[in-house]
């Protein structure tokens, strides 16, 4: 009897050791970072498609189910997912990923946000008082996020902690190599016009300038008057290009290109937006080479 019990307990232990950690990530780049660290020890579900605007996502029942099954929920934070994530977390009925629990990983905890607007109101458009949430394009911050993911994975799945640490060491090596490579790019003199205010981290880290936005205010589509003013400004400033992501601003940029002769660069929004952007590193590779 005792033996059977022992075997039973051991087999339970074995299955728990073998069971993969179920990770749910809101955005593709977060899933990609978790994959870098978690490798084959984790199962990843990414909720949002790479061509979706994370501001305008609805809490689909399938997402609720995915969060229900999660051991760890990893998200961008800084209000980017405010429209649907609170609903997902509550409706999931999953105590492990509630705010304050180890399984709730807000990546912005590891980020130094820029453009904080403590006294913002909505007449300013879709602003984010806690800071610009688009740190996806910020190597400095992404490095810290990867470190944070390593910490949380190691804490939740301590059996594989060593594996996660080793993955992070490999990530660090690759990161340093890439940073050196990216630093050689010649972006310092460049000036761009962007559709939405999502490249501030990129411009501050790589030294280029964003001279204006096509959106009148964040999240508010431009009026004819705003576009006209922008055309004047572009004629004056002669920016190198207009930068947009595939999901917004195509029509407006076509018109602006026609009027001013300034070319448009379509940057991949997230991992998986283009075939080349397979993970976060190749996403950055592609963005930086397109901006050259």
């Amino acid at each position: 009897m005792k033996k059977i019990a022992m075997v039973f307990v051991l087999s339970l232990y074995a299955t728990s050791a073998l069971a993969k950690v179920n990770v749910v990530a809101t955005l593709p780049f977060i899933g990609s970072l978790a994959k870098e660290i978690g490798g084959d020890r984790i199962d990843i579900t990414v909720l949002i498609k790479s061509n979706q605007d994370p501001h305008f996502v609805e809490a689909k029942p399938s997402m609720i189910l995915a969060v229900r099954k999660a051991d760890i929920l990893i998200y961008n934070g800084l209000d980017l997912e405010i429209g649907y994530l609170p609903v997902l977390i509550e409706s999931s009925k999953n105590p492990a990923i509630q705010p304050g629990k180890a399984g709730n990983l807000d990546c912005s905890r590891y980020v130094a946000p820029i453009e904080r607007l403590p006294s913002a109101d909505r007449s300013m458009g879709d602003v984010h008082p806690l800071g610009n949430p688009h740190y996806i394009y910020s190597p400095k911050n992404i490095f810290r996020v990867a470190e944070g993911i390593t910490e949380v994975l190691s804490a939740v799945d301590s059996v594989n902690a060593v594996f996660y640490m080793e993955s992070f060491a490999a990530f660090k090596e690759r990161f340093n190599k890439k940073q050196a490579e990216w630093g050689k790019g010649q972006l310092k003199e460049k000036k761009f016009i962007a559709y939405h205010n999502m490249f501030s981290y990129l411009s501050s880290e790589f030294g280029f300038q964003i001279k204006g936005y096509i959106e009148a205010k964040p999240g508010i589509p431009p009026s004819a008057g705003h576009i006209e003013g922008l055309i004047e400004a572009m004629k004056r400033e002669r920016p190198d290009a207009i930068i947009i992501t595939p999901d917004a601003g195509r029509k407006e940029t076509e018109f602006l290109t026609q009027k001013t002769g300034v070319k448009t660069i379509i940057l991949p929004r997230d991992v998986g937006s283009t075939p080349a952007a397979k993970d976060w590193f190749s996403l950055m590779d592609e963005i930086l080479s397109l901006l050259q």
Binding site: N51, P61, R68, I82, K93, P113, D126, L130, P133
Partner: protein, 432 residues
């Protein structure tokens, strides 16, 4: 009076009391002293401010880790939003006719809208986590008649995986539209079936709800509720002492590809009834059962384009006595009636176009008073068209037209609504 006179006298005497030169010198001296003290205080204050600034900078660095999930810190204040729902209404009926326009055989409640400008409500929505175990919500619509606690409930967050309890006063999980807030509806008014079976507001009850989300390959939610049974069309406050209503519902959902989702499921609510909402001067006492089948299909290939097709079929059956409150004579009443709505919404950019069709007594129209079948005239129906423009996530303008034949008298109520909905405060969610 005497004191005032004395004071006046004193003031008049002051200039003569001292020699002017002495006075001036003394005064200048005093002013200098005062200004010296002031500069010192200012310097001290500046120092203090700088120290505070230093402190707040380090504070800032620390608080960079604040979660953005529920907006900014909600410790000191819960998340609060205010939604103002106001509309202009025009009908070919005057206000008196509207008030009398019930749905015979279903409800004696007329139309509460008035020709001209209307204020639906200014609705306060308050929520925040209580502690690591509960979230708390309250919906307080303030109308011209006063404030009302429409909802006030907790939701558990720490029960074992998949289980959740909701308690307090809340919108029942029965059906699809029932649990949605009116300002989130795709049209300015509730479907006819809801008006006829539950009342425009739906089933909002005090009680407790248990839901379970099993770990299956597809989304399935199971729920059961024990409710007080205050709904004045289905049940009634005085039907029985104690809670006298129970509901159960199931919802399942699949994704079909990346962009399409379907959601469907049955619901039922049963309870004891005693109310005067069937017809004027009649009180009904007996048992009520209401069934619901819901179906929603949503296609959303991008943020700028979507299509939603939604339908609910409701079947209500009641068995009991209908008493004439004037003559005190009673009849047995057995009625089983149904209703359905089908609506579609097409969104392109910031614009949404909608169409809806309502029909009552689709398959069942039994209404037997002491065994004799009653005929109330043509089957109620209504056709609706709407155009919506959303300037942002927080402001909505809607124009809606109803061709309403629910009066059963062959007379059409042509209604036009121009509705404005604004929301300020905490960011509202985008539920499916």
């Amino acid at each position: 009076m005497r004191i005032t006179a004395l004071l006046c006298l004193l003031f008049l005497l002051i200039p003569f009391s001292k020699s002017w030169g002495d006075d001036m010198e003394q005064r200048i001296q005093a002013l200098e002293n005062a200004s010296n003290i002031q500069t010192e205080t200012i310097e001290e204050q500046q120092k203090a401010i700088e120290e505070l600034k230093k402190g707040s900078d380090t504070e800032k660095q620390k608080s960079a880790g604040v979660t953005g999930l529920f907006g900014s810190a909600s410790l000191a204040n819960p998340n609060i939003s205010l939604i103002v729902d106001t509309f202009f209404y025009s009908s070919n009926h005057n206000d008196g006719e509207l008030e009398a326009r019930s749905i015979p055989g279903f409800t004696n409640a007329g139309i509460e809208k008035r020709n001209g400008f209307n204020l639906e409500s200014a609705e306060l929505f308050i929520y925040a986590p209580v502690d690591p175990y509960f979230n708390l919500y309250a919906t307080i619509p303030v109308t011209e008649d006063g404030a009302e606690v429409e909802e006030a409930y907790f939701i558990t967050t720490a029960l074992p995986k998949g289980a959740q309890v909701k308690g307090g006063k809340f919108k029942s999980g029965f059906g699809r539209i029932n649990s949605q807030h009116p300002h989130a509806w795709d049209f300015a008014d509730a479907p006819l079936a809801y008006r006829g079976f539950t009342g425009e507001e739906g089933i909002i009850e005090k009680g407790v709800q248990l839901t379970y989300l099993p770990e299956l390959p597809f989304y399935t939610q199971l729920g059961a509720e024990a409710l007080q049974g205050d709904n004045n069309l289905l049940f009634g406050q005085d039907a029985k002492s104690g809670a006298h209503t129970f509901s159960a519902f199931a919802k399942a959902s699949f994704d079909m590809g990346d962009y399409s989702t379907i959601l469907f499921g049955p619901s039922v609510v049963v309870g004891k009834a005693r109310n005067s909402s069937i017809a004027d001067d009649r009180e009904f006492a007996g048992d009520t059962t209401l069934y619901d089948l819901e179906f929603t299909y949503k296609w959303k290939p991008s943020k700028a384009r979507s299509f939603t097709l939604q339908s609910e079929y409701l079947l209500r059956s009641q068995d009991g006595n209908l008493t004439d409150t004037v003559s005190s004579t009673a009849d047995t009443l057995k009625r089983t009636q149904d209703g359905v709505y089908l609506q579609g919404i097409y969104q392109i950019g910031r614009c949404r176009v909608g169409a809806r069709f309502d029909r009552m007594e689709v398959f069942r129209d039994d209404y037997r008073l002491s065994g004799a079948d009653q005929d109330f005239g043509e089957r109620p129906w209504r056709a609706t068209g709407s155009v919506e423009y959303n300037l942002s996530e927080f402001s909505r303008i809607r124009v809606q037209y109803n061709h309403d034949r629910s009066g059963r008298d062959g007379v059409t109520n042509n209604e036009v609504l121009v509705q404005l909905i604004f929301g300020i405060g905490a960011h509202s969610a985008h539920p499916f």
